[in-house]
């Protein structure tokens, strides 16, 4: 089967699964996703910078650890997993942020779903999507997730 046909089949499937993943994450972790969403809209610059720093240096650390023995490789895998989880939370927070801006009157689930779909399809745009938009969204989302994680409240506010 030619590669481009394979891509044509895989792209919608991957889009669908990612949309479902982001919607489910929004349902399962509403507070975290809401925090990421609000952080990404309030502090876009710092989110991006923090995401960029973490992706670059964590990638270097993972690459360095993968060249070591069994234990360093395991540690590298662990760090990589944490990075992927952070990215998933970040992008799941960016999706409703996009959806809310495009469809302000829709329900939250619809906003998350459409936001995720538009984000993924836009990221599939050759070159611009692959090398500019998707990295930007990833850095932005990951940074917003880390920021929201570190600035969360220590206790519930008193009534």
């Amino acid at each position: 089967m030619p590669d481009f046909i394979m891509i044509l089949i895989l792209a919608p499937l991957v889009t669908l699964t990612l949309v479902a993943l982001f919607v489910v994450m929004g349902v399962l972790f509403p507070r975290q996703i809401s925090d990421v969403k609000s952080t990404s809209s309030e502090k876009p610059g710092r989110s991006f910078l923090l995401g960029l720093i973490n992706v670059i240096f964590l990638s270097v650390i993972v690459a360095a650890l993968s060249g070591g023995g069994e234990f360093p490789q395991l540690l590298g895998l662990l760090i990589f997993t944490v990075l992927v989880i952070g990215l998933a939370f970040g992008l799941a927070g960016i999706a409703p942020f996009i959806g809310e801006r495009i469809f302000p009157d829709s329900s939250k689930v619809r906003q998350a779903g459409w936001g995720a779909a538009i984000m993924i399809v836009a990221s599939l745009t050759p070159f611009i999507g692959w090398f500019l938009l998707f990295p930007y969204l990833s850095f932005h989302g990951l940074g917003a997730f880390i920021l929201s994680f570190f600035t969360r409240t220590s206790s519930k506010p008193s009534a």
Partner: protein
């Protein structure tokens, strides 16, 4: 009820908040007082028109802005000064360099020796004619690309080097995260 009720009483009547005795007294008064009856009708009309107004969606999300204003006070990130962050990063680097340095020392010494040898060869080559040098270079394993590749394999991508690169990246990650998060704390303060 002999006196005319004020607007508050009429409003309480419309909201069904009057006690039974007050309500009966007011209703008796209203039957005999067309002026108060007109006031009541005016209030009723006013409230029904207010209720019939379409609800407008707020353009500004007040919840997120209020939460953002509250959060800095409840920030649980330990407050690290810039000096402390730099010290932590520097300490990590020193520790790692010291740990990895023992193995690296021998490798670096070997590498320097080889480099010196290559430089000597190159000097000898340069002392001959340019033509001789051009012929000699491909035949000299130490000066070939593979020779340099071996150098890279042996020194630059050694386990010690990986260890140092990883630790440096970790120190920079720590420093970068600390700086960006601290920048937020400063701007929120």
């Amino acid at each position: 009820m002999r006196e005319h009720p004020n607007d508050d009483t009429l409003q309480a009547y419309l909201d069904d908040e009057l006690a039974k005795r007050e309500r009966v007294g007011l209703e008796t008064h209203l039957q005999a007082c067309p002026e108060c009856k007109a006031d009541l009708a005016r209030l009723r009309s006013l409230f029904s028109s207010i209720e019939s107004l379409p609800s407008e969606a707020l353009t500004t999300d007040l919840v997120s802005s209020v939460l953002a204003a509250i959060r800095p006070n409840a920030n649980w990130l330990p407050s690290l000064a810039l000096g402390e962050l730099l010290a932590a990063a520097a300490l990590t680097l020193v520790l790692v360099l010291w740990l990895g340095g023992v193995e690296l020392q021998g490798r670096l010494a070997g590498a320097v020796q080889r480099l010196v040898g290559q430089l000597e060869l190159a000097t000898v080559g340069l002392s001959t004619t340019l033509n001789d040098l051009l012929v000699q270079v491909p035949d000299t394993p130490e000066l070939s690309l593979f020779g340099l590749g071996g150098l890279v394999d042996n020194v630059l991508v050694s386990p010690s080097m990986l260890w140092i690169v990883g630790a440096t990246a970790f120190a920079l990650l720590l420093l970068g995260n600390g700086l960006v998060l601290r920048m937020g704390k400063d701007s929120n303060a």
